[in-house]
């Protein structure tokens, strides 16, 4: 069977690729486009390590077929910083020590960005439920939640 041709915009760049019909978006991002910042922790949509923003929606790249990305605009962790300026969430994660091993971090950052893009003033409970789709096994979530809340406060001011 011939491959599927897909046109997308990824992190502001026009990207075209050919994929097998059974490849996930995550497979193509990681194995073909070598954007390995999105991680595969479960391949079942339970851990959020592959979180990307597609047309403004937070999605698990492991649950989408690559062919479904046709015509879409995708944000991955590789596009989060603006040149040498880290996104405020990235800086707060560093300042709060909100990561230990760091493998879940790209997914948390993308998920947190999707939250703050739609709700710039979340409560702690809102942050905790929004991020409940992202698993972190190292931190116990405390410093992650603080980093997100402080980013929100800093951005509002």
């Amino acid at each position: 069977m011939s491959k599927v041709h897909v046109s997308t915009i990824i992190n502001d760049d026009t990207v075209e690729f050919l994929c097998e019909s059974e490849q996930t978006l995550l497979d193509v991002l990681r194995d073909d486009l070598r954007l390995t910042g999105s991680k595969e922790g479960c391949a079942s949509g339970d851990c959020g390590a592959c979180s990307v923003i597609m047309d403004g929606r937070l999605v698990c790249a492991c649950l989408l077929l690559a062919a479904e990305a046709e015509g879409s605009t995708i944000e991955t962790i590789e596009g989060m910083a603006n040149g040498s300026d880290l996104h405020p969430l990235q800086q707060q994660f560093l300042d709060h020590a909100a990561l230990q091993c760091g493998v879940c971090t790209p997914g948390f950052l993308i998920a947190a960005k999707a939250l703050l893009d739609r709700n710039p003033d979340p409560t702690e409970t809102e942050v905790r439920y929004w991020l409940a789709g992202n698993l972190c096994r190292c931190t116990g979530y405390d410093k992650i939640v603080r980093a997100v809340l402080d980013t929100a406060a800093e951005t509002r001011n």
Binding site: A43, A49, I77, L131, L135, C136, R137, Y141, D142, K143
Partner: protein, 769 residues
């Protein structure tokens, strides 16, 4: 909820004023790579001409392998290599250390590739390397295996019965008294203690004896096992993998594959969590064998289902604990009988479990007996303080019940019986400066412990202990010509150790932190390094890094002495500069690190600080946790309302990452206590091998985790460090169970306290009324 740091020693507080880096909250040197997606983990490496490897795994819990036919799979276009038991030599029984546990080469080689039998669902028995994953999966489906399915046993108590099916037909119990004369599933019996427990129990006014059961839980690292192996035609090999110890991986792989150790260079990728589970090998020897056969690089990555089914969970256990005490609250005797599941091969952490069981208590009469028991489950691996959370759960539950019977506050009761400096531990050693009493006092004084509860809520307390280890580390400091330094260590950074090590080195050299670049060297770049485990990295590698820095400083002083033509004894090193004692004149007033680095070619050549040691003097860390819970009487859900961790760190080099260890360990313990368990069907197949059904805590399950860092310095470390990574997972199981008992008036003796079990217990309690 503020984070409170309690400094116990005023003297050190005064000294600390002089530290530039130690004790600060600097941004970690690998941080930017990790928030931008740049950091390369196990599955992130792509090599030219690389193949994809996939493993065929047993669908049976226990079966004899009659034949494996790979002929059809080999013919599939795109298949480049297939390996089975035929490709691995058998190895004799030989135990070697892995973390705080021992592993046996005879067993490792059988675990990475089954030989006579498959011993658990998920046991590897063939692997394929192909041009891509799709072809590799197709090839696996073409491999024909004939099995003779055998009866299986999953339960630890069932497995010990004389009529139980034998998992290894020739296994005689080590340490049995009298010596075992026929095989069983009991691999080992260990005993620790002193005094005479019958004498002790005779003195007791109150005795409580209970039986407990816990289930296997998985370490749950978010990054699955992954590696890339590349063996060249002349037998030299490269291996990239996610591991807690690349030197240990090198040794295991070389032994399993019959290679010279020096021919294999192992590079540790960034590691996406390990918690003890990445101290052993699974994929690595198989990927090397495939690459050797295909003469192409091979990448292997486990799926999450494979991680659950075929990599090490922690033991499930059956235990009996008996504690007696006098009316005034003094424990007279303690006894624990522990039966731990080892999985399909011997080597559960029951020895450390037995050692740790009563460690928080100063006891005259104490005995802990452990049995290491084979069952048809994946071989257990270390999980954060391996063995200790299980045994201390049982002991701390009974301690709580005894205190309640005596109507004594649980912290008061622990203080009356607490181990202190000079206490002879139940497992032998006499404790040095330990901080248990300080953690109990800090917990007692904490606002959390003083705050009122609402009706229906319960508060629980428990203490915990882990002994921590030292061991071999080798560190190099390579000075650049501009006076900046590469700090090369061989212990993978699993949670911020590059930060803590860099800070200690910058402190010693008297330079800015960003002039020191810490990195993890591959196995060819340094002498031997034991793995990151046993909470040893900031302690042991930290001590060696400090010694390497001191070695470099002594060389810098020698160079300055040479330039100034004065005796080296006249040179001081202060704030990153050489100066002369008594202000005697030289050509310049001071020589900076940069000056000396720029001129090193003229003064004796490259400046390299080195130290290689087998570090002794690891000090144990004690902790005390306080937790408040509410129980939903309709759903059985236990809600964690408030949680406080108090633990002795010796010295917190980077307080944020110490707090992070406390918080992360506590939340893993919350999962262990409330939800996590392996659930099998009647055929011995795991029913919940995924994150949806194996329910680890998510962000909305937990509150903020408050922390108090107690600092009782370890005299064997230049800054007083004690390992902190493991102790935090020890107290939560009992602390939460004690809190639930106070909330519901029902004491659980089984984990996890998941909603169905809690509902059943509430129903049973109300029907018995």
């Amino acid at each position: 909820m503020a984070i409170v740091t309690k400094r116990v020693s005023d003297e050190r507080e005064a000294e600390e004023q002089n530290f530039n880096w130690v004790g600060t909250r600097a941004v970690r040197p690998d941080g930017v790579d990790k928030v931008t997606g740049r950091a390369k983990f196990g599955a992130d490496l792509h090599l030219p001409n690389m193949l994809v490897g996939k493993m065929l795994r047993s669908p049976h819990a226990h079966a004899r392998i009659l034949s494996i036919d790979i002929s059809s799979a080999e013919k599939l276009p795109g298949v480049k290599a297939i390996v089975t038991r035929e490709d691995f030599s058998d190895l004799a029984s030989e135990f070697v250390p892995a973390g705080e546990m021992m592993v046996n080469y005879r067993d490792i080689t059988r675990n990475v590739m089954a030989r006579e039998k498959v011993l658990y669902e998920g046991h590897a028995l063939a692997a394929v390397a192909a041009v891509n994953a799709i072809v590799a999966r197709e090839a696996l489906a073409l491999i024909q295996v004939d099995y003779e399915v055998l009866p299986h046993v999953l339960d630890v108590v069932e497995a010990m019965k004389p009529e139980a099916v034998l998992i290894q037909e020739d296994l005689l119990t080590d340490g049995a008294d009298p010596p075992a004369d026929k095989p069983s599933n009991i691999a080992k019996r260990v005993e620790f203690g002193h005094g005479d427990i019958e004498t002790g129990f005779a003195k007791a006014d109150v005795i409580v004896e209970r039986e407990f059961n816990t289930r296997p839980v998985h370490q749950g690292y978010i990054e699955p096992h992954a590696c890339v192996a590349s063996v060249s035609e002349d037998g030299q090999a490269e291996l990239w993998c996610s591991t807690q110890g690349h030197y240990v991986v090198r040794g295991h792989c070389a032994r399993i594959l019959g290679m010279d150790v020096a021919k294999l260079r192992v590079t540790a990728s960034e590691i996406g969590g390990g918690f003890g589970g990445k101290t052993v090998v699974y994929l690595e020897p198989v990927a090397l064998a495939l690459s050797r056969k295909a003469c192409q690089p091979v990448k292997m990555v486990m799926t999450r289902e494979e991680v659950f089914k075929a990599s090490g969970p922690a033991s499930g256990a059956n235990m009996r604990v008996k504690i007696g005490a006098t009316r005034d609250g003094r424990i007279t005797a303690g006894e624990a009988i522990l039966h731990y599941q080892a999985g399909a091969f011997q080597g559960s952490p029951v020895p450390p479990g037995a050692q740790c069981a009563f460690a928080p208590y100063d006891l005259e009469h104490v005995r802990a007996v452990g049995f290491d028991v084979l069952v048809n489950r994946p071989k257990v691996a270390a999980y954060r303080a391996p063995g200790a959370p299980i045994s201390e759960y049982a002991v701390e539950s009974v301690v709580d019940e005894v205190a309640k019977k005596l109507n004594i506050d649980p912290i008061e009761f622990r203080l009356k019986n607490a181990s202190r400096e000079g206490t002879k531990a139940s497992h032998g050693p006499k404790f040095g400066p330990i901080g248990l009493v300080e953690t109990l006092e800090a917990a007692q004084a904490h606002d959390h412990y003083q705050s009122p509860l609402q009706p229906g809520q319960g508060r629980g307390v428990a203490s915990g202990y882990w002994f921590n280890i030292g061991g071999q580390s080798s560190v190099t400091l390579n000075t650049s010509e501009d006076g900046t330094v590469a700090l090369v260590v061989g212990t993978p950074d699993i949670g911020g150790s590059r930060a803590s090590l860099g800070m200690m080195v910058a402190e010693e050299l008297g330079v800015e932190l960003d002039k020191v670049r810490p990195m993890i060297g591959d196995t060819s770049s340094l002498g031997y390094n034991f793995l990151t485990g046993g909470s040893r990295t900031t302690f042991a590698t930290g001590k060696v890094a400090v010694d390497a820095a001191r070695d470099l400083v002594s060389q810098l002083r020698e160079r300055a002495a040479k330039i100034w033509d004065v005796p080296v004894g006249d040179i001081l090193w202060h704030n990153g500069e050489a100066l002369q004692k008594n202000g005697r004149g030289g050509p310049t007033e001071t020589l900076s690190f940069r000056d000396l680095a720029e001129s090193m070619g003229k003064t004796g050549g490259p400046l390299v600080g080195q130290a290689s040691e087998n570090v002794q003097g690891a000090a144990p860390s004690f902790g005390t946790h306080v937790v408040d819970v509410d129980v939903d009487r309709e759903t059985g859900r236990v809600e964690i309302l408030r949680y406080t961790v108090v633990q002795d760190a010796g010295k917190a080099i980077h307080p944020s990452y110490v707090e992070g260890q406390y918080q992360g360990g506590a939340v893993q313990g919350i999962g262990w206590a409330l939800n996590e368990e392996y659930i099998y069907d009647s055929e011995g197949r795991l029913e919940n091998a995924g994150f949806l059904d194996y329910r680890m805590p998510v962000c909305s399950d937990v509150p903020m985790i408050d922390t108090v860092i107690v600092e009782v310095p370890n005299p064997a470390h230049p800054y007083g460090v004690k390992g902190v990574g493991e102790t935090p997972i020890v107290p939560p199981l009992a602390a939460i169970s004690n809190a639930v008992a106070n909330a519901l008036g029902i004491r659980f003796s089984e984990l996890p306290m998941s909603p169905p079990r809690v509902l059943a217990a509430i129903a049973a309690a109300s029907s018995s009324k």
